[in-house]
């Protein structure tokens, strides 16, 4: 198929960017979206132009590197998938495709389609851990049985890949889904109880400091999350946060 691509190009954080048009032909429907961009980049390089920079690594939907806003949707038109797992069979001959980076104040642009998501890392430094040393002397793994329901819910929350689609989908650029997934994982497990109150307070405070917006419960984050992280995590974090503040 032949496609018209409208791609955000920006040299670096200090320079102004703009949308640039590219034509690409003979795209196979079996290609992934990023493989289509590989073809474009090969053509650009051969012509002596600079290729389009974008983040990508595992290309199997788990590392969370890829972060493209495609026709206005994080990770594009296919539900429950990352950009790297989006395939060109979801498009048709003659389509125009607008490709932008995820947009949020807390995710400044590095170059072209690459953004800086270190705000997510800093939120995690604030409390996304259980304080246990790797001494080899921890208790036996089966010493504390964990209700299967809690374990499964903790796993579901922990399956977040940290891509930032939730922030990109939200009109307020809120990071509540991301942060609540992490808070929930620990809040649901017995191992997470000791630091439970401090954790939620510290992580929420860092989240606010990073400039993410407030949550107005529109649910766009859940709808666009490639891993199906549930909104109930946000409800849980709100309870955790209120509980923690009441006690302090």
């Amino acid at each position: 198929m032949d496609l018209k691509l409208k791609i955000w190009r920006q040299k670096n954080a200090a320079t102004k960017g703009k949308i640039v048009d590219y034509d690409i032909s003979e795209v196979s429907s079996d290609m992934s979206f990023l493989e289509m961009l590989d073809v474009l980049n090969r053509e650009l390089t051969e012509k002596g132009d600079e290729p389009v920079s974008f983040d990508h690594d595992c290309r199997e939907g788990i590392c969370g590197s890829c972060s493209l806003q495609i026709n206005g949707r994080p990770h594009g038109p296919d539900g429950g998938t990352t950009t790297c797992q989006l395939h060109m069979r979801k498009f048709k001959d003659g389509d125009s495709i607008v490709i932008e980076p995820f947009r949020a104040k807390a995710f400044p642009i590095v170059k072209d389609l690459i953004i800086d998501r270190s705000a997510f890392d800093r939120v995690q430094h604030a409390g996304a851990f259980i304080s246990v040393n790797t001494s080899g002397n921890t208790q036996d793994a089966n010493a504390t049985p964990i209700n299967k329901g809690d374990a499964d819910h903790a796993f579901d929350a922990a399956s977040c890949i940290g891509c930032g689609a939730c922030v990109a989908a939200c009109k307020n650029a809120s990071a509540m889904l991301f942060v609540s997934a992490k808070v929930s994982q620990y809040a649901l497990l017995p191992q997470g109880q000791v630091e439970r109150e401090m954790r939620v307070t510290d992580m929420v405070s860092q989240m606010d400091e990073e400039g993410f917006g407030a949550c107005t419960n529109t649910g766009a984050c859940e709808a666009e999350c490639p891993k199906g992280i549930s909104l109930t995590n946000i409800a849980r974090m709100n309870r955790e946060f209120i509980g923690s503040n009441l006690k302090s």
Binding site: G136, A141, N142, K148
Partner: protein, 669 residues
């Protein structure tokens, strides 16, 4: 163990089950106040690097950790699917440290160092305890206890898992431990930084030259020890299940600075990957080995059925049971679909080479869940007091169970192939997945460069010629959490009075200059072909001539062809953009330059090894049934010393003695 007199493997004396304990009792320790005076660099933040960085920082060392990704959490360990082994014997099926040790040595076709493997088995249980304490959500049963499943090459259930995302959960666990230390200021994290070279001062590893991938600036970083945890080199094949950025460069740079590179030809070709779909393909996707717990592998028994399937006239589900060849169950009745990876891969290739491949290119076999769906569905119907003879109900219930076990893998398959694997069998074919070879290390995990360590997939030590499923995660975390934190102290104890290592020295300047010159050479080269052109060309030679099946003539050709591509690369490569700023093509050029050297050493090593063992199959050396034929004369680790160019690399042999395991024919029949 014998290796060149200067570099003994330094394995401790005593009975094997006491070696690690007595070693720990005798090593030098560094007191807490002195640890604060010592810096350690860790390159790579996967399971090995992440766990090492966190543990060393907990101990009190000042850690500087580097990753080329935008966050440590994105290292490629994240993509590991199936599980992690540990000899907990929670299932009560007779598991023990010795059995895990035995299975690993046998699975590696008797080409691993006994002492290292025993230690790995010994600490395996601690890993699970540690991860649970960190909040890693492993799969549990209804009683709230941890669940296990089986992996290839063993007869017990010792694999702990978190759906098909075990690597992700373990890495996030290690990353959480890092977060705690980053917050304390004990780890200084350098994201989007690539190690460009190792700096050696007075014969010791004392730092690295790193490139800030955002600004393009070169930086000098010093430390009292350098730990390489940069993963494997499967991307030398261009197409592999590795991430796009996975590369050999950190390991190769230390090799060129004096670290010996061991067994480069030991590469794992994983049997269950999604087949190649076309020339545009940028990477291959693994379908976890855990699927072979429930999936049965087959091809049609009749050639006319193969033709009809390829033309689209026949669907696989329409082929009668009697007309299917479940070739693993036929050839290996004892282990069936759970034979080790090397064996399963070669068997699939044998059927496809014989003309029974089921896709258009003839390079695919089926992985079928129909029997498991019915088995699970019937059980669930009985347990829930429903009609177990109702076929539609049984199918529905069975598919639900399969979805809870492998849901994310089935979804991934459907996205890529556009077929529903709940209804039609998956198509799979072997692909490059893991490299058992790597930097040679002694019992302390130290390379032949004093103060430079290699851990995880980057080293060579535990898996011999073939790695068993779910053992890579175990090794990465064992090295990082429980082995290196002890062994490195034994070395650093002598460095407590050294003080901070300055970076304004001739050694740092010379290393930086070398890096700068190579980068300039790429940018100023007036070639016509992009980096990928050369990488693909190299990958094709590696796959065709140094892949699943090798012979002397092809290997000799491969050596020459790779040398020719390397010459062409330096003449013709075209790297767009500037030295400053983010430039992925420039980063790729440096990585491919290293693959072009490693590829040659890889072929040379395969040529030297005149035997078949594990993942290394020489056509000249096979039994009448087509199985790998080992040769006692090659019961050694081939450690290569760099001497100017891959063709001049010098071979050192670490002879392997097996005192605790009888070396037998490796049979899975």
């Amino acid at each position: 163990m014998k290796i060149g007199a200067n570099f003994p493997a330094k394995t401790p004396e005593g009975p094997i089950e006491d070696k690690w304990t007595s070693y720990k009792n005798k090593i030098d320790l560094v007191n807490p106040a002195n640890k604060r005076l010592i810096d350690v660099i860790v390159v790579g933040t996967g399971l090995a690097g992440g766990s090492a960085a966190a543990s060393l920082a907990e101990l009190g060392y000042n850690v500087k950790a580097f990753c080329f990704q935008d966050s440590p959490r994105r290292a490629h360990s994240i993509a590991a699917q199936g599980g992690i082994n540990a000899s907990k014997n929670y299932m009560g099926d007779g598991d023990s440290d010795y059995r895990l040790f035995y299975d690993t040595v046998k699975g590696g076709d008797y080409r691993a160092r006994e002492e290292n493997v025993y230690r790995l088995a010994e600490v395996s249980g601690n890993i699970i305890d540690q991860c649970v304490a960190q909040g890693v959500p492993f799969a549990r049963d209804y009683g709230g206890l941890l669940d296990n499943r089986s992996f290839g090459g063993v007869l017990v259930s010792r694999t702990f898992y978190a759906k098909g995302q075990t690597g992700q959960q373990l890495l996030l666990g290690a990353y959480s431990a890092m977060n705690r230390q980053i917050a304390r200021g004990k780890i200084k994290m350098y994201n989007r930084h690539e190690m460009m070279d190792l700096v050696i001062v007075d014969g010791k590893a004392r730092g690295i030259i790193a490139k800030n991938l955002i600004t393009g600036e070169l930086e000098r970083h010093s430390a009292h020890a350098v730990v390489i945890a940069s993963g494997g080199y499967g991307n030398v094949f261009y197409l592999s299940t590795n991430a796009m950025g996975s590369n050999v460069s950190a390991a190769w740079k230390i090799h060129k600075k004096g670290a010996w590179f061991a067994n480069p030809c030991f590469t794992q070709i994983h049997p269950t990957c999604i087949p190649v779909s076309g020339d545009h393909q940028s990477k291959l996707t693994l379908m976890s080995e855990s699927l072979r717990n429930d999936g049965r592998i087959w091809v049609p028994a009749k050639e006319e059925d193969v033709k009809a399937i390829r033309s689209g006239a026949l669907k696989p589900t329409a082929i009668a049971e009697a007309d299917r060849d479940y070739f693993l169950e036929r050839r290996y009745p004892a282990f069936g679909n759970l034979v080790p990876r090397d064996v399963a891969s070669r068997a699939a290739k044998e059927r496809c080479d014989a003309g029974f491949g089921v896709n258009a290119t003839g390079e695919a076999v089926y992985l079928d869940f129909a029997a498991a769906v019915i088995r699970y569905g019937k059980e669930k119907a009985l347990v829930t007091h429903q009609d177990a003879n109702n076929e539609a109900l049984v199918l529905e219930l069975g598919r639900e169970i399969i979805a809870t076990k492998y849901g994310n893998l089935f979804q991934m398959y459907e996205k890529i192939v556009d077929e529903n694997p709940y209804e039609t069998p998956m198509m799979i074919y072997p692909a490059v997945h893991y490299t058992m070879g790597g930097v040679w290390v002694d019992y302390d995990l130290m390379t032949t460069v004093p103060g430079c360590y290699a851990i995880g997939e980057a080293n060579f030590s535990e898996h011999g010629a073939n790695r068993l499923g779910a053992s890579a995660l175990m090794q990465g975390l064992a090295d990082g959490y429980f082995v290196l934190p002890y062994t490195i102290g034994n070395y650093l104890a002598k460095d407590i009075r050294t003080g901070a290592i300055p970076v304004d020295t001739p050694e740092f300047a010379a290393a930086e200059k070398g890096v700068q010159e190579q980068l300039e050479r790429f940018i100023n080269n007036k070639g016509s072909k992009p980096v990928d052109y050369f990488h693909k060309k190299l990958g094709k030679i590696m796959w065709d001539k140094v892949g699943m099946s090798r012979n002397g003539k092809d290997l000799k050709d491969a050596v020459e062809e790779i040398q020719a591509i390397r010459d062409e690369f330096y003449k013709e490569v075209k790297v767009p953009g500037d030295l400053e700023g983010f430039n992925e093509e420039l980063a790729k050029a440096g990585r491919v330059a290293d693959f072009l050297e490693l590829g040659e050493l890889f072929a040379k090593d395969a040529l030297n090894r005149e035997e078949s063992c594990g993942g290394h199959f020489r056509e000249e050396h096979q039994t009448p049934e087509g199985e790998a034929k080992r040769d006692k004369a090659f019961q050694y680790v081939a450690a290569w010393e760099h001497d100017g160019a891959p063709k001049d690399a010098k071979l050192h042999k670490e002879m392997l003695d097996y005192k605790y395991i009888e070396v037998k024919e490796r049979s899975y029949k």
